[in-house]
Symmetry: C2
DNA sequence: CGTGCTTTTGAATAGTATCAAGGCCGGTGG
DNA sequence: CCACCGGCCTTGATACTATTCAAAAGCACG
């Protein structure tokens, strides 16, 4: 629990609460909302724990994970400022996934009861959330498609693209923000660190990127997109 | 367009409209709803076509498909009586998937405008649909997990289980309703017919099922579940 | 400068897709 | 009723891809 930013004063324009809830409701929310800081590597909530509510990322970067077979970590989603966490659990008993801070991250939390009250008082908010879920569903299904039909190298490329779309990279050098270890890339691509290394070496030979230790520099994002262009379906 | 069943007289208790919309709204819906019959093999809507609204299965069985690489068909979902179709598209421009009747199927159609009106007048309906989307999201993510971590044989087992959960099978003989060709099983499991055949042979040797031509008899559903029990996560 | 971790690469192994051939139905027409 | 045909199913051989294990090299940190 840290310095509290009130919804009414919040500058995060991506937050659905601010956009779709009337002022009165926002004040209701204020009462029950809490804001917390999580340090790099810390769990915001864990897979299998009871659903207490929904989180909004105020600032920071997060990976959403699930434990696969033999407890191998699988990254389900990357999220940053303005994104919602824990919505997959809403309506269920326990969170089917966990969320880990990739850097120091501030999140707003709203418990189930408050959330329900907001839904009841703001049909527009409910509608907006429904549309959000619908969009998420389309995204996940696109993901299913590439997970099941791409080769390992292609999945690595897709992961890199997803990564720079979500977290960005330095326009000049091409350095990817927040050096993601190979282990994380492999958890995103659904393979192991060895294969990621091979795939990256191949991409180096093609001249689309450069690596210096664990740092990855994207030199030719266009060419990256070309590699997986066959899979690009309308979202 | 066939014999019309009015929402108010509809006996389909699974339909969300009937459950969550007030009587007045139901009458509004009545005006714009249409009901159509699709013959086996016929497309209810195709991937890539503009989103006109949402479909509800009144009676029948449907597969939801998407074209993969090299136009290889991939089955995204199986649906039967009471299930919703086309909701993934809602809020988007075009349907990201298509729907094909697996047997003669009657569906109710509701266009975007009517749907929006129902949402506006029935917050409970919006809320129910939101919860539905949330649940769908959890399901699809469970699917991602098994698609990316199971072996081919395991995916075939999972497909069979999914199939009998959705469409059922004769309790006595174990005969699966609606003989699904190997090609469809492979489209569901994300592989080809050859591999499905191998997996089925293996299952035959294990004594969990029997085949007679294209017909599949499930002898030991419990043992089937055991095979993939490592992947069972809470939904 | 070690020390420990991550990355990279090679080699062996396992798993999967593809191709081809043969067999088994299921339907059609003589 | 039976013979034929076409399509689907099954299975083997082969090529390819991915995983695993092991070892060496590189980097980060004290």
């Amino acid at each position: 629990m840290i310095h509290q930013v009130k919804c009414l004063e919040c500058k995060n324009t991506k937050c659905s609460i601010q956009r779709y809830c009337s002022e009165i409701s926002t004040q209701v929310a204020e009462l029950s909302k809490s804001q917390s800081l999580y340090k790099t590597g810390q769990y915001i909530f864990t897979e299998g724990s009871p659903v207490r509510g929904i989180y909004f990322i105020y600032k920071g970067k997060v990976k959403v994970v699930t434990a696969g077979i033999q407890n191998r970590e699988q990254i389900v989603r990357l999220a940053s400022e303005g994104h919602i966490l824990g919505h997959r659990g809403y309506g269920g008993e326990i969170y089917p996934i966990g969320a880990v801070a990739l850097q120091d991250t501030t999140v707003c939390f709203m418990d189930n009861a408050t959330l329900k009250e907001l839904f009841d008082k703001n049909p527009n908010f409910t509608y907006a959330m429904m549309m959000f879920y619908s969009q998420e569903l389309r995204k996940v299904e696109k993901r299913i498609k590439y997970v099941s039909q791409m080769t390992v190298s292609e999945r690595v490329v897709e992961s890199l693209l997803y990564y720079i779309n979500t977290f960005g990279y330095e326009k000049g050098s091409g350095l990817m923000n927040l050096g993601l270890p190979r282990k994380d890339i492999s958890a995103l691509a659904g393979t192991n660190a060895d294969q990621v290394s091979r795939a990256l070496s191949e991409l180096k030979r093609m001249g689309v990127l450069e690596t210096k230790g664990k740092r990855i520099y994207i030199l030719n994002p266009e060419k990256l997109r070309e590699i997986v262009s066959d899979f690009d379906i309308a979202l």
